[in-house]
């Protein structure tokens, strides 16, 4: 046994770590890339926003067709334009009979066509009879008619351009959609759509499910993420904006996404979660698992850890020279 001052050790550790943290904070600061707004989306990628809004009306965006916990798979598309659920790929992940995403059910219901497009337009149509008529005409049209309009409008967006702040789309058999989408874009560019998307009927709100899903449905946010090396195939889970260290401790979690079969599987997320769950259980049970618990004895790092102890032990065991 030897004297050991635990409290002084902790005090020294606190001081040393504080100095290190203060130096790092002063020298390197911390990352804070401002949040993307629907307004900035509308200003920098207006056609992408309009295309996303059109797909929301069709019920074919990632969030519309997602499945639990947000929607019944394909239901939004069926309601909106009469597409059968089988025609719209959902985001439900299963593994054989294992379907926890379905078992959990719909607990965060969303209706993107209404919340992201139609409801903001209804609110914007106050004092705008032409817009009000367009929205009413759209909502009253049969599903097949809406589908025809949406397909025709979406097809023209590939050649759409912004001219003096106005979206210009070639004429097509697209009903009231040009006026609706031009207005939606105008509201978005003014910042009004950000406010309308967070409206919940309550004064206070802290749930950004709706607006975040809408942002995620578009191409603007992923393009920004790619420029910051945050995509999945860029090991993005471990990365941070700028040149800051990210969540390096997620290296094993994100590694699976880079290698087959995870890299090409439609249920990759579920596969990775199950794999990590298994590995975490193994880590937890290391003391009881033959092999895993024996590795420390086979790999003699312990000789480095207790180097002085083994040296002292060896010295103690060495036979001492006899007298004379």
């Amino acid at each position: 046994m030897a004297p050991y001052d635990l409290v002084r050790e902790l005090a020294l550790a606190l001081a040393a770590v504080l100095v290190l943290v203060l130096v790092l904070a002063a020298a390197l600061s911390s990352p804070d890339v401002p949040a993307v707004t629907v307004q900035s989306w509308a200003q920098h990628a207006p056609v992408d926003l309009v295309s996303t809004a059109t797909s929301e009306l069709q019920g074919t965006t990632l969030s519309s067709a997602y499945g639990p916990p947000y929607t019944a798979p394909g239901e939004e598309a069926a309601d909106a334009v009469g597409i059968t659920p089988e025609e719209v790929p959902d985001s439900v992940q299963t593994l054989g009979p294992l379907a926890p995403q379905l078992w959990a059910g719909i607990h965060l219901p969303i209706h993107p066509a209404w919340s992201d497009v139609l409801h903001p337009l209804v609110l914007a149509s106050v004092g705008n009879p032409a817009l009000r008529q367009a929205v009413v005409a759209y909502r009253r049209a049969p599903a097949a008619t809406r589908r025809r309009w949406l397909v025709a409008f979406q097809a023209q967006l590939g050649s759409a351009r912004m001219v003096r702040g106005q979206l210009v789309v070639r004429p097509a058999q697209d009903g009231p959609l040009p006026l609706m989408m031009e207005t939606l874009l105008t509201v978005a560019r003014s910042g009004g759509l950000d406010a309308l998307l967070t409206q919940s009927g309550h004064f206070y709100q802290t749930d950004y499910t709706g607006p975040l899903l809408f942002l995620g449905d578009g191409g603007y946010l992923p393009a920004l993420a790619q420029s910051q090396h945050l995509l999945g195939d860029q090991w993005g889970m471990m990365n941070e904006t700028g040149r800051y260290p990210g969540q390096a401790w997620l290296w094993l979690y994100t590694m699976w996404y880079q290698i087959p079969p995870y890299s090409t599987a439609g249920n990759a997320d579920l596969l990775v979660v199950l794999t990590m769950g298994l590995l975490t259980t193994l880590l937890l049970l290391v003391p009881f698992l033959p092999g895993l618990r024996d590795i420390p004895r086979w790999v003699p790092i312990y000789r480095l850890i207790w180097r002085e102890h083994y040296r002292d032990e060896a010295a103690r065991r060495r036979p001492r020279p006899g007298p004379g």
């Binding site: 030897a2 504080l18 993005g236 260290p245 579920l270």
Partner: protein, 206 residues
Amino acid sequence: MPEPPRPPRSWTRALRGIVQRELPLDHLLPDQEPAYVASWVYVFGVVAIAALVWVIASGVILAFFGPQWWHVSPQGHFVNSIHFWSVQLFFVFMVLHLWGQYFGATWRDGRAPTWMVGVVVFLVSIITAFTGYLSQQNFASQWIAINAKDGINSTGAGAFFNVLNFGQMYGLHVMLLPILVTTLVAVHLVQVRRRGVVRPIDPGRS
């Protein structure tokens, strides 16, 4: 001589007896350790705790002024930087501590529960950091939320743990999870003090 009357049964006295028996003060705060504890490996645990102290201290300041403060105030941004780098150091030291404990096989001699609680601390810390990243209210938190939801939704947990709900994630991050991490770390420390530091591996023993 007649025996003194037995005192009435007392839960308090029973609990005090358990504590005195299981963790006497000179075990909780010893001023001596086996000589082998002088190894450098034993530093990683205490510096991880030190980093955690600064994570919590800076986090308390950030929580006091609200989630928008650090975006608009230079002082707030500096406190956030302290929080950010404390977290980075906390994980570096905790991982080094984990590897040191693994290669020392420190679960020996009845210390498996200590190892297991340590692993749970690691896992809860990852979840706590994750909710912190979601609470930043900047581009990174938007991107993390949008992507993380798929993995969590695939397990069914997304119905109840909504990474897109700032209020839920923030509440978990500033209160529930720090309480859990701190409690688990305290349990871990008590476990270490109860059993003492494990002896070095004896190469001659199986």
